[in-house]
């Protein structure tokens, strides 16, 4: 019986998520239609373009099928290309950021720079062949230092989530309802 209830709840979760996608689309239409009707400067043409793209994708998906050649073509030719380009452009920003940020200004930044350079070189495939020591150093950083720090973050996050859950269930935390306690309002401060 419990198993059946769990299955039902999980299926409801999936239905609600799927529904939220449709709800999100409706909300987008509502929000951007207002920009178009008000001719918001520097915004309304982007809103119009967004809605046109949504309508085009939806129409092709509904009438020709989301696995049709046409749908795949518009996905690959527009969204996929743009999405990959935007993500790839991060490489340029990161390179510039490395050049400016990894400077030996104090002890902390020196450690940061040394570790960063070792991991960079370790992740360059060909260099691992010519300098096997890099691989050992990189593995130590990843498996010992990073894993330890990451575990600390994960355990801290989990404890935080548990305490938030307890506070929410006992009514101490009301922020999620949009209601602030006196303490949160700062009322208890002198």
């Amino acid at each position: 019986m419990t198993s059946g209830a769990v299955k039902d709840l999980q299926n409801w979760g999936i239905i609600l998520t799927a529904f939220s996608l449709g709800f999100g689309a409706v909300n987008l239409f509502y929000f951007h239609s207002k920009h178009i009707s008000r001719r918001t400067p520097k915004q309304w043409m982007f809103s119009l373009w967004l809605l046109l793209v949504i309508v085009t994708f939806t129409a092709v998906g509904v009438f020709m099928g989301p696995t049709s050649t046409s749908y795949n073509w518009i996905y690959n030719a527009s969204y996929f290309a743009l999405s990959a380009t935007v993500y790839s452009s991060l490489g340029f920003y990161m390179t510039s950021g490395l050049y400016r940020a990894l400077r030996i200004k104090n002890i902390e930044s020196t450690i940061f720079m040394v570790v960063g350079v070792i991991v960079l070189l370790k992740n360059a495939p060909a260099l691992a062949v010519y300098f096997p020591t890099l691989s050992a150093w990189g593995s130590f950083i990843e498996n010992v230092l990073t894993t330890s720090a990451q575990r600390g973050i994960m355990i801290g996050g989990a404890l935080g989530a548990i305490s938030l859950g307890v506070r929410t269930m006992t009514g101490i935390e009301t922020g999620f309802l949009g209601k602030l306690t006196e303490e949160e309002k700062g009322g208890s401060e002198p």
Binding site: P66, Y87, V129, S135, T147, Q150
Partner: protein
């Protein structure tokens, strides 16, 4: 030549970003056009992944989650294709794919167009491999599929009932799978499978994620909850192991050269910074 009143160290310490980007672009494009064939060593994690697939018993069923988005395809797509090559070449493994990313079905189509399973391995859709499509809900979807796959979806990604495919015979829940693989650009998915499948059913699990996500996943691997964590950037290593050189090998050259360039940039920046400090000109 540096500008008036500007020393060489000032210039080197503040190279315009257009120059940094331009050099990076050149270093990036050259090996893409003329592959250098630099060596690609096989790392321990890729080897562990390869062995896990190799050690699967005949008739094993593998669940794959195409949980990445279009932005991550250039990194994760080559790895997904290389692993498919490995499994389909064996000929005795059934591969069932689903997506926790809404773009998954399109990206799976893209991978299959590159893989050409019918022509290359004689694999038949619905017999040797199948895609059951996008299942909304994130972790809820993972849990639901693990509990009862057909209650979650009754059709494949094209809308054809699953009962019409022989590969789905006997597939009920997570216990029906011998291995779970996830390719993802999202931490929710890669960690979610640990929580919803490994912890509950003990399904052996491997994931390939963006390089920057690897540190997040390492604690799970070091705790034995994940067999192997790889980054998509290691696709070249997998392609080398399965003897199907493709996009991954090509990008390995690019990764080596761009990483070296980054180190050169860091060295230039620091030399300029220290030199300026010694000259007493630094802020």
């Amino acid at each position: 030549m540096s500008g008036q009143g500007k020393s060489i160290w000032d210039t080197l310490g503040d190279i315009p970003r257009e120059v940094l980007y331009g050099v990076l672009l050149v270093v990036f494009v050259i090996p893409m056009i003329y592959p250098l064939g630099l060596p690609v060593p096989i790392s321990a994690n890729v080897l562990k992944w390869y062995k896990a697939v190799e050690d699967l018993p005949p008739g094993a069923v593998v669940m794959i989650d195409f949980g990445y988005s279009g932005g991550g395809e250039p990194e994760l797509g080559p790895m997904a294709v290389a692993v498919y090559h490995h499994m389909l070449r064996r000929g005795d493994i059934k591969v069932i794919c689903m997506s926790t990313s809404i773009e998954g079905p399109q990206l799976w189509d893209k991978a299959m167009a590159e893989l050409r399973p019918e022509q290359r391995y004689g694999a038949v859709y619905g017999v040797d491999y199948i895609n059951i499509g996008y299942i909304a809900g994130g972790e809820t979807a993972m849990a639901a599929v693990g509990k009862d796959l057909r209650a979650t979806t009754s059709t494949d990604y094209k809308g054809t009932p699953l009962d019409q495919y022989s590969i789905m015979d006997g597939i009920v829940d997570a216990h029906s799978f011998d291995l779970l693989i996830c390719y993802t650009t999202g931490g929710d998915q890669s960690e979610g499978w640990v929580r919803q499948w490994y912890t509950v059913y003990g399904t052996p699990y491997m994931c390939s994620v963006l390089a920057m996500m690897v540190p997040t996943m390492l604690p799970y691997m070091n705790a034995g909850q994940i067999i192997s964590v790889t980054s998509g950037a290691q696709a070249g290593e997998m392609e080398g192991l399965v003897h199907v050189p493709a996009r991954g090998i090509k990008s390995a050259d690019v990764i080596t050269l761009t990483h070296m360039l980054c180190v050169v940039y860091v060295v230039i920046g620091n030399v300029a910074y220290i030199a300026k400090k010694f000259q007493g000109g630094s802020k």
